[in-house]
Symmetry: C2
Subunit: 140 residues, 2 copies
Amino acid sequence: MDSFHLFAVGKVKKDSGITTIEIYKEYADALLGLDQFSHVIVLYWFYKNDTPEKKNVLRVHPRHNMSNPLTGVFACHSPCRPNLIGLSVCKILFIEDNVIRIDSTDAFNDSPVLDLKSYIPSMDMIQDTFVPKWAIRNPQ
Amino acid sequence: MDSFHLFAVGKVKKDSGITTIEIYKEYADALLGLDQFSHVIVLYWFYKNDTPEKKNVLRVHPRHNMSNPLTGVFACHSPCRPNLIGLSVCKILFIEDNVIRIDSTDAFNDSPVLDLKSYIPSMDMIQDTFVPKWAIRNPQ
């Protein structure tokens, strides 16, 4: 009962420095109005980690940096986690039919896309935050 | 190949105005360090919409308001969408063992939790955004 069947609605494509989200034609209608937003939240599948071992990892040193403290995968954005959902907030450059050109994403080429949500500041942007020291530094 | 099996790692519980995320004991180790963050991104399952009809909805009037323009489900946070993943950014009040007390969430009581990610402003907070008029208004 507590398990769910999901499927890809598109793919991340990276080619010669150009990054796009290609939504499969049958879901293209779900893009109506997305061009009026500056950013989109992309939920994708960490497909390279789809092994029982990687899904059993519950603690990591964030950003593959052993000097960062051992941290639960729910307290970071590690690509190893029980359900391999990745989240990336991406700047929309333009949309043509079923293809969204974005500035960049950490997702690998060919990552299956599970869902898109427009980035809505009144819900998704939190101003008054705190984080531990390791998470202050920019990952780039 | 393009389909994925996910499972609940916990549940949203709402009782007498108190809202918690109860993570199942076997995943509690993944919470290490989350108490050092002010906010958490909760990914959950819109379980009340788990019907073929609701998953086939590709366009809605956002926020059940017919005066909002017809909009693709990828351009809003509608609870009807091909993969029924909900996303809520929640303020952490405190964490006790495997239970996270949060201020609030739109998720219904008993919603299965798929994943948690700490809210990391350098990745998740976008300052320079634009949105269409319907999305400016606060949903509350």
